[in-house]
Subunit: 373 residues, 4 copies
């Protein structure tokens, strides 16, 4: 049986999610391939050892460069803070490894462009970890749009709201340090919305945004640190196909825990999704008889829905972690079959372009054109 | 018993709503005053006569100027298209009549300013028909915010979505003619959101918007006419108190009938309202015990809730029309007690200022400052 | 113009609802008839006078017998406690007056039978005040079922939950006195569910129930009184057409204010209704494409929906009181056109039969057959 | 490191769920124990081999008796149809193995009693697979009730609705054969509701039910088979503590996929749960300030909620499969710490008693007392 050996860089929240998915992808998507969780890589030895043990990695290492060069490593998964994505991904590509990198791909569009350049002519599979594309309800939304069930698209409306910073006393974190995270709610949450908007509606042409940092220092007593990223960023968009869009990301929205929601309106129908009810897709169709038109709540757990044949009988819900399993199923499938997968580094670059244009617009106070490829 | 004689200008959708409310306000808010639906005014005689009969008006007239000058008229209610608001309202004020004018107050801020000038030193009660302030759930929201239950306000997020133009074959209407309506979704729907934002969060400082007309001609066969207003307008706002806002009005949102929704996030709590569930207010409070924190769905029908003592026992829902009754209760109360009421012509002017600044920003492609009074 | 003169017996909650509806039915359903709120009848003079004034009645009287016999009275509306329904209704029928009587029709099936006997051969229109049939969403449900959209009906599931007695300290009321009210939650709330079940699914064949009085005395200090009715009654039903049913009425369901909900499942579809969202009907259809099957939330406010042409544009919600206006529109229509209307006294009798059979089953501890007509 | 070796009997839907959980319990609940998926047991060799491979079992066998007797097996998990539970469980207990058995425990109360007798004096951990107790929202409900947040319990209201048999053309299955399944919707779905009612409210005293088989033959062409179980069973219950209950299980509820829902009303508060939104708990509290009382939607994903420290940050939802992981975490914890766990075979027996009493009541047409232990 063919084996594929994985190296994972990072062992925190995302490292755990990737480890979980790697341990379950074959269970749900059997493919005659043995996936080995070979090496997990991190910097803090005691935590790394514990993660290796709990998450079932055969080895651990503090030297990602060395690991990437190992002949027995086939795949490199990057689940580190954004600031290290570029270097690791480019080295992995040079070493001919398949790469799955967390989002946002780069600290900015220029980094992402270099990453795209590094992979585009190499025979590897590259992917960006926009796991929300792998929610079955989102995959179904894509299918319905492609089938024309919405007609011409008029509006995209996305909100990704969390509240872990709403309390001014919430502690400091690397995610609030621009040097490490690149940006705040914008790069973390709007990146997901932008990817979904590109996936479902298409490319944006122009954007203008507003960002806000409500709490400028966090921490306790003497260990106060400056918050150097945005707490929230909202922006307007004009899509290439004529649709208009509103986007908002915030970590200050009290009561909203992981409210990744979107609505798309077209001439013939509308779709609604909210990650807090991730197994459901709202769908309204003008083609229904007039007297029974209404938003349907599709419970996306039927055998015939995307990804669902692999899981449970109808009505047995999926959770957050399942999206990572679905993602790895597609990634591994591409490796085995030597095909491409989306979102890949090109998509990651495009996403970074939008992020950057929004940031620029905040400085210039006017609409910025997305440069495109 | 003291009597108050009303003249109503307009007999269509809004004319019907006002007539209804005038016929019911004393039933629910008894006040020892007899309200007489004295004269209804319009231009098309046969329709006017029918309206007078069905809606219970004692007289009808096609000459609003004459009616306004009648000694036996105490109150003038303006439920006409926006283009005639200014002239009627100013004449009514000159004649010393109390005035309730539909929204938006003026075709633009300059008109509204003149209207405000005309009333501000006259001893009359003036009001703008932003009836959504009279939804008990909205009045409760105001109370909770004033009590500090949300802490510092971070975000306002308003969407007012309808779909009656989503189909490109939907017919032409005066509401799509800039000369009569002033603007499209913007003046019609964003006007309500702006009024609610000012009421609940405070004044805005700067805005930038995007508008779109998706369908440029409507009508059938030879009777095609140009649509000269926006089908949708979205904008970003910076509030004077530091909060950020997103606003979107559209008549192209398939499946959304009268989806007037808003969410406000603060450091200690959040509120959510959707007119499609107009008897409910969503409320999340950080002061709840941690393990039971969650958005409450308050059914705003208790005796202790604003306006509700006048209506039915708890759990017996109000409808759209009740907001007009509540509005007239407040208006008549101000007349009787010689007090002020909000939103008045000053508020209407401020609302028009925001509308105008958004429109300007669409031309200048940059943030526009709200001029203020 | 033809005039119809109304006498209303009762001026409390239901008296207010009827007065409201009588004052508005012609506004929304113009019919070239003048309805006069002629006389309101009650026992407590000062309250009666106040009600007459506030609710706009031309006269008031404390002698219902005298009023019923007046030549200038055409219609008698009975909005009194259940114990007086029979006597008033039978006298009104003898006097040849049209009668609209609140529910439940009689204190028991025998009373209701006598009432039915009294009206069935007289040329009057008789109706029972099951206003929930006049919710547009319920009328639409009836239409969809009649069109076969649910296929064979398998289940009816009704819950009518309130909470005004959940607190043991809630005060005594005539509604808790068996001599006046007949029964508690059962006759008050199950009566509505039974009427809706008969309307939507058909007659029941057998029932068995459980009732409970959780708090046996209410009141303060020395003025404690015995509660002689049920706080809650639930029952199972076998319908004549083979469907099974579950019913539950309670005034002890903390947090549920007027939660009158029902679900009907059939071989081809399902319907769901909850009065707390009274403008919506849930509908699931097997005839939808497999991948987009889901419960639709139909906002029942389109012109094409039952009753809605009379009201407001789509998306402008109705409230509790509108159901009474719709009810009077149908009642007056039947009077004018000399037709029948449902639910009439026959339906009221059938409803009382089910109520009685449930009560008997609680004593006999076994299934009771509904006797039928 | 200590090792625990597992044998699993059954490889279908439940076998997959158990295999999944066994493969993930240590990942989320690290405990210094190595769990080995040692042997999977089934009857159909080719399917068994495939399951062993896909689900990661080290060995497979068609002889459960032999496997149970192996010295290197510590735990026996029974995921077979109900008819084989008794024999396997008793043999496992005799062999001194810990046992986790799927629900319902026995074909009837007598079988379950024998199983309880077999384990009660043996030093093993025994558990029944009522996985819904391991939904964090349900565990939180238990905690809130135990803390007195609901006051005295008045009502339990449970519905477990599916629709896979609603279409008369749905195929035959072992689940519709009384010899193998014991009963239909009753034993399959009401068993879960009964377990949750016992867990949250307490023991029942009396019950009466109604069952229905709507479609008596299923299958195609010549291979029609008789359906010998109920399609739906509903029952009323009187709880020992005075509360009343309604229960309904159906596989004929079109549009309901796995609608396992319950509501509990008490003198001080209410709880609501629906598995279709399994990460949420509805909670209403009289102790809230009057004007903001309302059902809260608690998103049960905080660190402080039951089981959640093991999973993801707040707002990242769990799915169906996570309940099995939580269940095994508790089961393994009990094995390691030599403690008891619930629901155990005693609970399984009590559940079977209620199931049986309902069935008896359907024959006797009167209330049946639950016998108790």
């Amino acid at each position: 049986m063919r084996e594929i050996n994985i190296a994972l860089i990072g062992y925190n929240f995302m490292g755990k999610a990737h480890s979980y998915a790697l341990g379950n992808v074959n269970f749900f998507f059997p493919n005659k391939i043995r996936l080995n969780k070979k090496v997990i890589v991190g910097r803090t030895l005691n935590l790394l050892k514990q993660a290796a043990e709990e998450y079932g990695w055969l080895e651990y290492s503090t030297d990602w460069r060395e690991v990437i060069l190992r002949d027995d490593i086939d795949v490199v998964c990057i689940a580190t803070p954004t600031s290290s994505h570029k270097e690791i991904a480019i080295e992995a590509a040079k070493a001919g490894k398949h790469v799955l990198c967390e989002k946002p791909l780069g600290m900015n569009a220029e980094e992402a462009r270099q990453m795209w350049i590094a992979v585009k002519d190499v025979e590897i599979v590259h992917m960006v970890g926009h796991n929300y594309r792998r929610v079955p309800a989102i995959a179904l939304a894509k299918k319905l749009i492609d089938e024309g069930k919405l007609g011409n698209i008029y509006h995209f409306r996305g909100c990704y709201l969390q509240d872990w910073l709403a309390d001014p006393r919430a502690p400091m974190s690397w995610r609030l340090d621009k040097e490490i995270a690149g940006s705040g709610a914008h790069g973390d949450l709007n990146a997901h919305l932008i990817d979904l908007a590109r996936y479902l509606v298409g490319e944006m042409d122009q954007v203008i945004g507003v960002e806000k940092t409500f709490v400028h220092q966090r921490g306790e007593g003497n260990s106060q640190a400056n918050v150097t990223v945005d707490d929230s960023t909202a922006f307007l968009a004009k899509f290439a196909n004529g649709a208009t869009g509103t986007f908002e990301a915030s970590r200050m929205a009290s009561g909203r825990k992981n409210h990744n929601s979107l609505e798309i309106n077209g001439s013939k129908g509308s779709l609604f999704f909210d990650f807090e009810h991730m197994n459901e897709l709202g769908f309204w169709s003008k083609e229904d008889e007039l007297e029974v038109q209404g938003f349907r709540k599709i419970i996306v757990t039927e055998d015939t829905h995307p990804y669902m044949k692999a899981w449970w009988p109808a009505g047995h819900l999926l959770g957050y972690q399942n999206t990572f399993v679905n993602q790895y199923a597609d990634f591994i499938h591409a490796i085995i079959n030597k095909t491409k997968v989306e979102p890949n580094f090109y998509d990651g670059w495009m996403c970074n372009q939008v992020l950057d244009s929004v940031s620029t617009s905040i400085d210039t106070l006017t609409w910025e054109k997305i440069r495109g490829s």
